[in-house]
């Protein structure tokens, strides 16, 4: 089985993010790194193909920059990469992203498409579902465990109370949560080999994909500052106050 993993290059979260005036688009530096949440998807893909000997292809949309983030995925062991880069894609929303990824994914034979549940810079959290819809395959989301058997995939779907066991036929799209598997350290051999692996770069023209109607970011508002927590002094009845507080929040 061949697996395709959707990944994203993002600015290093340790550096301050800057937004472009007017459009409110994120200014993307030349050096971007692999979104940490995508390491779980890459690892999952590698573990699923290792027994059967399929391939793992990473697919990514966005400015290539130095391509460092893509090579980080290749260094983990992915076989090759497809990168869709096109200036007309600046400021794309989730639907355009899903369309573009679907067009790229559709160029390959695949059993499973894996994506993180959401990116660390955009946080829309809807791309995997949209991607499945456009590819016309089942979407199995928020997986904390993934198993593939003859022609089917079964996941543990994280819920508020625990998890649901969800099974579907293949091909399918699965979105995985951070922690689904422990991402491997890239090995030196993997890092050295990464530069020899193929990165296919495609434009919108190559894909024949179309942008979705424009979504505009009208304004950006800073998140409210956190207020100081409430302190309960214990005069022997603190436990009652805490229980009341938890009941009020409907935690208990």
């Amino acid at each position: 089985m061949n697996v395709i993993v959707c990944v994203k290059q993002i600015p290093d979260p340790a550096t301050p993010y800057r937004l472009e005036e007017g459009t409110n688009w994120l200014i993307r530096p030349e050096e971007q790194i692999l979104d940490d949440t995508d390491r779980y998807g890459v690892e999952m893909g590698l573990q699923l193909v290792e027994p059967s000997g399929g391939t793992v292809t990473v697919v990514s949309m966005g400015p290539a920059g130095s391509g460092q983030g893509i090579r980080q995925a290749l260094a983990m062991g992915a076989d090759d990469a497809i990168l869709i880069e096109d200036t007309s894609l600046r400021g794309s929303d989730a639907l355009t992203t899903a369309r573009v990824l679907a067009a790229a994914v559709g160029r390959r034979e695949f059993g499973l498409v894996i994506a993180g549940t959401e990116s660390t810079d955009g946080y829309s959290g809807v791309v995997p579902q949209m991607l499945a819809e456009i590819l016309d395959v089942p979407a199995l989301t928020y997986a904390t465990k993934v198993e593939v058997d003859e022609g089917s995939v079964t996941i543990h779907r994280q819920t508020v109370a625990g998890y649901d066991v969800v099974t579907s036929s293949l091909p399918a799209v699965v979105s995985v949560t951070a922690g689904v598997v422990e991402p491997r350290y890239p090995t030196f051999k993997g890092i050295m080999d990464a530069k020899k692996k193929s990165i296919e770069t495609l434009s919108m023209g190559d894909l024949g994909a179309e942008r979705a109607p424009e979504q505009l970011v009208l304004s950006i508002v800073d998140a409210a500052e956190r207020t100081a927590g409430r302190k309960i002094e214990d005069d022997g009845d603190a436990h009652e106050a805490i229980v009341a507080l938890l009941a009020e929040r409907k935690v208990i």
């Binding site: 460092q68 090579r71 090995t187």
Partner: protein
Amino acid sequence: MSDISFERPDPRDFLDIDSLLSEEEIMLRDAVRTYVRKEIVPNVGDWWEEGELPSDALAKAFGDIGLLGMHLEGYGCAGTSATAYGLACLELEAGDSGIRSFVSVQGSLVMFPIWKFGSEEQKETWLPRMAKGEVIGCFGLTEPDSGSDPASMRTNASRDGGDWLINGTKMWITNGSIADVAVVWARTDEGVRGFIVPTDTPGFSAPEIKKKASLRASVTSELILEDVRVPDDFVLPGVSSMRGPLSCLNEARFGIAFGAIGAARACYESALDYSIERHQFDRPIASFQLTQKKLVEMMVAVQRGTLLALHLGRRKDDGKLTPEQVSFGKFDNVRNALEVARTARSILGANGITLEYPVFRHMANLETVYTYEGTNEIHSLVMGQAITGLNAFT
């Protein structure tokens, strides 16, 4: 010109030395750094205190990453540049000098001579398993009465039929008691030869040296060889002089020039963080002039040492690095690292003497690093001879 804005320099990379590294070097470096932060830093204080090392698990993990013999070509080795090897040593020693020693010995002192001077069969037999961490090696050169003057060694080997009989004692041997194989240097009628000795050979024993106050997260041993019999094809065929062991040391010393700066960086960063968090007289101690002076001296020493190491790395990759230049790196970076560690200790005050912080551990370790792999004094004499043309050793 006036609209160019400059960001404040990174306190951890003031000169932006990262900009001198290739993307691949940064990826290799970061792979080691991540591993060290996750697996070594949280545990090494305990290993150090208890004087124990989970060596088999570490060897396996290092093998999985590709650290062992990483700069050698073929035989399951990663085949990185020498600079990348140096950067790995730096990150490992930012964890602990003992951890870096483990990797140095395996790669530079055991795998390197087999790779450089060994027969094809010896390479095939040992290197792939050593690269994976399945086999741990040690290097026997130093003796109880033969340190800075290794040519005075007493360990000897003589032919006995088709075999060799080796007798002697080696001292201060890293990984000795946990090794599966030892590369032992011995005096013979044919000059100084290197022998690959499996440690389960009758007559070989390796008692561990205890009661160390330095490099406690590292196994140090004595090697005792009493009529140890090995076949002729266990001798390294490619060398029969002191050039053999000295070329190994040259490799390891190169790694130390990088590694010592890792220890210094860890001390500087620990002191920097501490000085900002620690308040006295209602202010962070980092706001006091005396502390700032110390912080800047440490930062400058670490950056300067990194630049020096990187320069040596580039020269080595160009095939131009001389042993005297390696001496420069080992001499200057280790003494400066030790000074940084002591300064950091003073900033941490009483906390600086505990193992809750890495500083005292590094400081104690660096006392060993100052002496092993060519003492500071010997490297002075190497460079002294190089600039005067006069030998001051004897």
